[in-house]
């Protein structure tokens, strides 16, 4: 994977800032109903190798399932990340980076939960929810 060393970012109000390491160019869209309800559309995120926060006291982590939590700014509500609990697997929303140039949409997951009224024109890999869980069971989280 073609990785960049470091990218910085912040929420809409600036209360939460972060430095992400090991940020790839590939971003993925998740069409699951939880991501849609949480963000107002498909969640488009990038899996990074590590996250270092500034202003963490403004960060709220909501446990949305047995295995994951969702982080947001408690002041402005910006949706910042989805994280597998107990790991450093952070999926950071693509809009919060200071320099999002160089991203490209490589994959779409939970494609079976995508509503009919929109489609991306991009050609990407596509996985159903079942295929995602099969991949996870084999120890391979989607990028």
């Amino acid at each position: 994977m073609n990785e960049r060393a470091i990218l910085t970012g912040h929420c809409l109000c600036g209360a939460v800032k972060f430095t992400a390491t090991g940020v790839p160019h590939e971003v993925g869209a998740c069409h699951c109903t939880m991501c849609q309800r949480w963000t107002g559309g498909p969640a488009i995120a990038v899996k990074v190798a590590g996250m270092d926060f500034e202003g963490e006291e403004h960060l709220t982590r909501f446990r949305s399932s047995d295995w994951a939590e969702r982080g947001f700014c408690s002041t402005c509500g910006s949706n910042l990340f989805y994280r597998i609990v107990g790991t450093d697997d952070y999926y950071v929303t693509a809009g919060v980076f200071d320099d999002p140039s160089g991203f490209w949409l490589a994959s779409q997951i939970f494609i079976d939960e995508k509503p009919d009224y929109y489609d991306f024109a991009n050609e990407t890999k596509m996985l159903t929810g079942e295929e995602v869980f099969e991949a996870v069971a084999k120890g391979k989280m989607p990028e």
Binding site: G40, I44, A45, G77, G95, P115, Y118
Partner: protein, 136 residues
Amino acid sequence: MIINGQCLCGAVRFHGTPVPQRGVGVCHCGQCRRWGGGGPFMAVRMEGGVTFDADETLVWYRSSDAGERGFCGKCGSSLFWRALGAGNDVAINVSTLPEDHGQQIFEHIWVDDQPGWYDFADARPRKTAAECLGGD
């Protein structure tokens, strides 16, 4: 047609009537993409706003001189955008509503702020920021 909506955790619940024959507006502005899920914020407008059935965890954040954004302080769901001084009119995260009320994309707005790495397949109107600010 009154429909019910709620955030991810269910702490914020509301109901209202979507503006008839309008559908989903898709906003690609940088603020929406930073606030929401990295892609555009997809919203429907409710005629006369919404009535809250539960709003104890609802937080409003003034994101510009023009408007403010409402979210659930418990789960972080991005729920509402409303213009300041525009009465009860509110744009609502379409995914807080049931899927079966015939949503279709009405238009894409702020497309000059849209990054080049995603695009939508539909042929609905695309409006720039200047066209949006110039009115409907």
